[in-house]
Symmetry: C2
């Protein structure tokens, strides 16, 4: 069974599309963007128009604990597809005893509806910090490609059990199987967007992986995956595949471009010349690392008479943020922030918003923050460069230009 | 049901023992040590005789991937109890529908036998690195309180299911319940050694928590928990309670001293004077953070004509070590080490031994290593001090004194 029949070939400019399993050959499709939705938020910092990639200003990002769709970052690898919900199908196939196609009606009515609060973060969040060290390959994001919303949908576990997988692990537990996911295409570097997560993650009732069709209790917006997307909590956003068209159980990771040739931390030695040596030797990123960012004041809004420092923090795998510390003296002493993090489902999938009251920001030239998660991991003090500029979680440092009037 | 009847009161010097729930009052028992086993390894670096606390030299530690009982570190909070396997019982009680007592015969014969390779690491491993920053409270361990052995025993999950907990989570999934564990006492700061882990961890078949009675395919040695101990893979050693006498389901964490007044990372501001303010505001440590150590050459054995640098690395929660890097130039450039890490059960519970061939160690004054785990977490470059000196995972730095003859 293949998803190719569902890819709208007409929106390619030419028909000469390589099979998306033909890796490592990179396919740069000439894409058309005829169906882009309206984006009313004029404050977005636009990093690319086609595909549309944009992040909100930090101040706007942390105004609310729940991020609305118009503040949520937009991360696309292709045009926003126009999908008819009434005819859309998700194939469930591969190494399952009973493969079948799922209509949207079945996804909505035949399974439990699980509603969880989960932060999605792009693996390229804060890529600009690594690009300052040395040029990196990727969209140069600031720290705004993270957002925290409610998602509701059908547990992937239930769907896989219907396809014949044993709920208690007989036949698959302990095996290194994976769930390949494919979007309704097309996209930039590949025929369709493909990615994978371990089968054990998908089947673990504590991991809360869902096929989501609602975001913040509304129909999923087109920019965020209408009519259905994966939500893989605690894992980088790249695995929460939008416009989901296929889920397939296989005995190895997805060979898709976005699993094999993107979203990996290559060692500092990897560069344009020797790149190919490293890809297959490096692991695909799954869970997020521990992260924190100062959102106000910011370098863009440094002139403040406020004495509140605010930001966000998050970790992967459902790990709770147990402490955020802020330093006004280059790491000599640290203030402990007040935290707010909610738990829905089985892990701390949502972000932590934090704030700390300081005596004064007068004469402070730099504000630093760092977070700790429930595995006692903390952030490295300096950025550690990698070719794709992913997973930058070094201490966040905001340089304040002092307003002489304060 | 209480375990007090099974505590051998006769080995207290006085009968005036406070209830071990009387926290935060610290009980310094006057203990006798009449039943200590033989410890044939004369190379141990002994950190305390009563209780016996000792770690092996690093060179000995990484000679084998599987650590034998005579190289395994010894971490005790009290005398080694003399327990009759034929009469020993483990109570299964608390919020379970069908409480019962388990004999050793039942533990060995009524459940599956799960055999896993798992590294245990004391949360105080490398405490000496933090003590150099500022005095810390605890046994001043070097980097040798880690070891990697086979453990075999009965899955805690199966025992809890027999006690009436639903295998699929009905009634407990998503609730913040905990498993309280108690040892056959006594110990230093409390009546018995008590600790806890989340119930979700205990019930998750992917977490491989067992009541172990074999170590490296032999009867558990007395120093390591005979006749039965918990093995909680991926979690600090302090939760793998030895001489297990009771497991109890409760709606909150164990109130025992070792859960509430030890094994927490207090913020740097906490000191002898203001300590009590911080204990209840800080989380108990569960999963280990990402860690790596250089074992040879060492500061104790710096004069080497070898050009191989070797060490260990580990992370918590079953997360794999995906890279170890070694620098000979103070972090300017990094060499990538060859890794060996085995997976048994459902996670990377065992340690990673690594080595890297360098051109020469001549004129090298410092060797540095750092590891990365499968959540993209890495180690902080400098030690971050905390009062109890726990969870030190800063970059390991070995200072070489050059042999002029090399």
């Amino acid at each position: 069974m293949s998803s190719t029949s569902r890819v709208d070939q007409s929106i390619y400019e030419d028909g000469d599309v390589l099979c998306h399993w033909d890796l490592p050959k990179k396919v740069k499709n000439k894409l058309k963007f005829p169906h882009e939705p309206e984006r009313p938020n004029k404050q977005y910092i636009v990093r690319g128009e086609c595909p549309f990639n944009a992040e909100p200003p930090l101040r706007q990002l942390v105004e609310e604990y729940i991020t609305s769709k118009d503040v949520f970052f937009k991360r696309n690898h292709g045009p926003i597809p126009l999908i008819d919900e009434n005819t859309h199908k998700v194939s469930v196939c591969g190494l399952v005893p009973k493969p079948f196609d799922l209509s949207m009606d079945a996804i909505k009515n035949n399974y439990s509806k699980l509603r969880i609060l989960a932060a999605l973060q792009c693996a390229g969040n804060r890529r600009n910090g690594l690009d300052k060290v040395k040029t990196v390959k990727g969209v140069i994001w600031g720290p705004g490609t993270i957002a925290n919303s409610y998602w509701a949908g059908a547990p992937l576990r239930e769907i896989l059990i219907e396809a014949g997988l044993s709920p208690n692990g007989d036949g698959w537990m302990g095996k290194d199987f994976h769930i390949w996911m494919e979007s309704y295409g097309p996209c930039e570097e590949d025929k369709v967007y493909g990615s994978s997560i371990p089968l054990e993650t998908a089947m673990d009732p504590c991991k809360d992986v869902i096929l989501a069709y609602e975001m913040n209790d509304e129909i999923m917006s087109r920019d965020h995956g209408f009519p259905v997307r994966m939500i893989c909590p605690g894992i980088i956003g790249a695995r929460s595949v939008k416009y989901l068209a296929k889920i397939e159980v296989r005995e190895k990771e997805s060979p898709a471009f976005y699993q094999q040739r993107d979203y990996k931390i290559l060692p500092p030695e990897a560069n344009d010349q020797n790149l190919e040596e490293y890809w297959d030797r490096c692991e695909s990123i799954q869970e997020m690392n521990v992260q924190s960012v100062i959102c106000t004041p910011s370098e863009q809004n440094p002139l403040t008479d406020s004495n509140i420092v605010k930001g966000y923090a998050i970790s992967g795998g459902g790990r709770k943020i147990i402490r955020v510390e802020v330093s006004l003296d280059m790491g000599e002493t640290w203030l402990i922030a007040k935290l707010h993090q909610e738990k829905t489902g089985h892990g701390y999938w949502s972000w932590c918003l934090w704030q700390v009251e300081v005596k004064s920001l007068k004469n402070v030239s730099k504000i630093i923050c760092r977070a700790w998660d429930s595995s006692s991991n903390t952030q490295p003090c300096e950025p550690i460069w990698n070719y794709r500029g992913v997973m930058n979680n070094s201490w966040d440092i905001v340089q304040l230009m002092q307003n002489p009037k304060i």
